[in-house]
Symmetry: C2
Subunit: 342 residues, 2 copies
């Protein structure tokens, strides 16, 4: 009888226990972009076991995206059956609201307002959470990146626009309504460049991939500095073209980076006056320019700081820049959530 | 035997227990100013049982101030013997650092750097804590004032300068070094007015008692608007004079308030973009002007807000304005501390 029970137990463990015990717990990190939606299985240490992407299909409804997405996720899960145990779902998306679980009027998608957390309950009963991409990046840096030991820092994402995620005392700042951290829309110059938000002179019209492009065209118009950029039309010029030109020593392109950093450093001094962070971490496309943007931003920030903050605040490049940072950020979001609730 | 023990217990309670039970627990809130140092006994609900002040004597050392101060406090304690039980010490002071327990180079005092928490251990073994006056004001509003049910708000103190205390998720933001919340030194105009901090165009050179006075003199110089303020020399004109003139309908004085509010509202839009607070609370001398400053600040803030924040953020006058807000703030600081550590 005792023997019998033991056999049964061993059989049970063989089928369930051993297998569960040897399975690695992962979450699925999902990054919803205007063109592609990327997802990946990520463990607590930030190791990514699998990654794939599907086209977002801007013309489709949100329901259709999530149906296609969870079909792909469950297909991928099957490949790892017995090896990976999926324990949570983290989503990063533009205009996502952490409190409400919604995405509202995302740029480049015709969704209107969608309650994503409600929607994905059709496909998964796992713990799930959502936030905007810049907030996800900040938690990604905290769990897997350069902010591992930091409690107070700000992540600035320099993509097409400028996003930001603020961490105070180890926690992301959401504010009263979930929309805190819109540093891209602090004002540099109320008479300045037209912004997509309807106002003028927002920081992101200067410090972003699109901002540096506008600066290049302003410089081409206002100076006679020769530049290889003068042969490229407005619609075709990218921040990467400016980077490549700068790397070759193109004076006008170098000036673009200097102006971008000067404006960014100037406004980040205000951010330091609010939050006194240990570090400001630059993330996203334009941050890949490395020292072309990091060093001058640091210098201009220092020049503009109140004495009490001088020589204290680090300006760092994201440590996730070579990896799929968006998926890692979304994964970090749900890991962080599950740990704080545990 | 049993009877004997009961008697002893009753006697013990008569001497210690009953008395302790009927005594009201209070903390001493201390506000160190350049001219006077005020203190008061405040219970958990914000009732102040006693208040007094001594001259700070700027020429004396910190040690001498605290010796005189604690002598007065213990004298006052004796008056309330058996009625009040002192359980903590809260201190608000300019340039105080919460993390270090220090006051560093306070304006108008020749102290250098003083470790206040260490110093007062000579006089009291009670739990003690210190922070700058604006942070104390923020906690005062949270415990006893208009922010009682709020988790995310910003207090702006409009005194000689502009101070601020930021609350995120029910906790004061100190940042990496204890110096977060220096909104008075965010930049309105890098070519603007000379600030005491050595830089130019800081918000406090416009939005403060001293700022509105500078605005008055700028307007007297740049316009021909008749005004009763034109008879007062620079050294004598106070923000209160401008307030009284505005109340009488003096156009130039009214214009001063409008300009102050316009600049304050403009910069507070950046603060909202960082923190998305539920409310911004105006505190201190200039806030006593009530609707002359609150209403236009609210209007200009709205004009400058990113769409997602519009019609969400309250602009309120401090609820502590009629009471000794500085002592209440310092008292709230230590009550809050003791509760969070309990």
């Amino acid at each position: 009888m005792t023997k019998g029970i033991n056999f049964a137990l061993i059989n049970y463990l063989k089928i369930n226990g051993y297998r569960t015990m040897s399975r690695v717990e992962v979450v699925v990190g999902i990054d919803i972009g205007g063109t592609n939606t990327v997802f990946g299985f990520v463990d607590r240490k930030g190791n990514c076991y699998y990654e794939n992407s599907i086209p977002t299909k801007a013309e489709q409804k949100a329901e259709q995206l999530f149906e296609r997405l969870f079909f792909e996720i469950s297909k991928a899960q099957k490949k790892f059956e017995g090896k990976l145990a999926l324990v949570g779902v983290g989503i990063g998306a533009p205009n996502a609201n952490y409190y409400k679980g919604t995405i509202e009027n995302p740029p480049n998608l015709s969704w209107g307002k969608v309650n994503v957390l409600k929607l994905i309950k059709r496909y998964s009963s796992l713990p799930a959470t959502i936030t905007n991409d810049a907030n996800a990046a900040a938690i990604g840096e905290m769990l897997f990146g350069i902010a591992k030991k930091m409690k107070n820092f700000v992540v600035i994402t320099l993509g097409t626009g400028l996003g930001s995620g603020i961490v105070v005392d180890g926690k992301l700042v959401y504010g009263a309504d979930g929309f805190a951290g819109e540093l891209g829309h602090t004002i540099v110059d109320p008479e300045g460049r037209q912004c997509g938000c309807g106002r003028k002179g927002c920081l992101e019209t200067y410090a972003s991939a699109n901002g540096i492009k506008r600066t290049a065209f302003e410089l081409m118009a206002s100076t006679s500095t020769p530049s290889i950029l003068r042969s490229i039309p407005y619609e075709k010029l990218s921040a990467k073209d400016i980077y490549i030109a700068a790397k070759k020593g193109d004076k006008l392109a170098l000036e673009c980076f200097d102006i971008t950093a000067r404006i960014l450093g100037f406004k980040l001094a205000d951010t330091v006056a609010h939050l006194s962070p240990e570090a400001i971490i630059l993330f996203g496309g334009l941050a890949c320019a490395g020292d072309l943007i990091i060093q001058p931003t640091k210098r201009y920030l220092e020049e503009n700081l109140l004495n009490v903050f001088k020589n204290k605040v680090k300006v760092l490049q994201s440590a996730l820049i070579e990896r799929n940072s968006a998926v890692l950020g979304a994964a970090a979001l749900i890991w962080n959530e599950m740990e704080n609730k545990a």
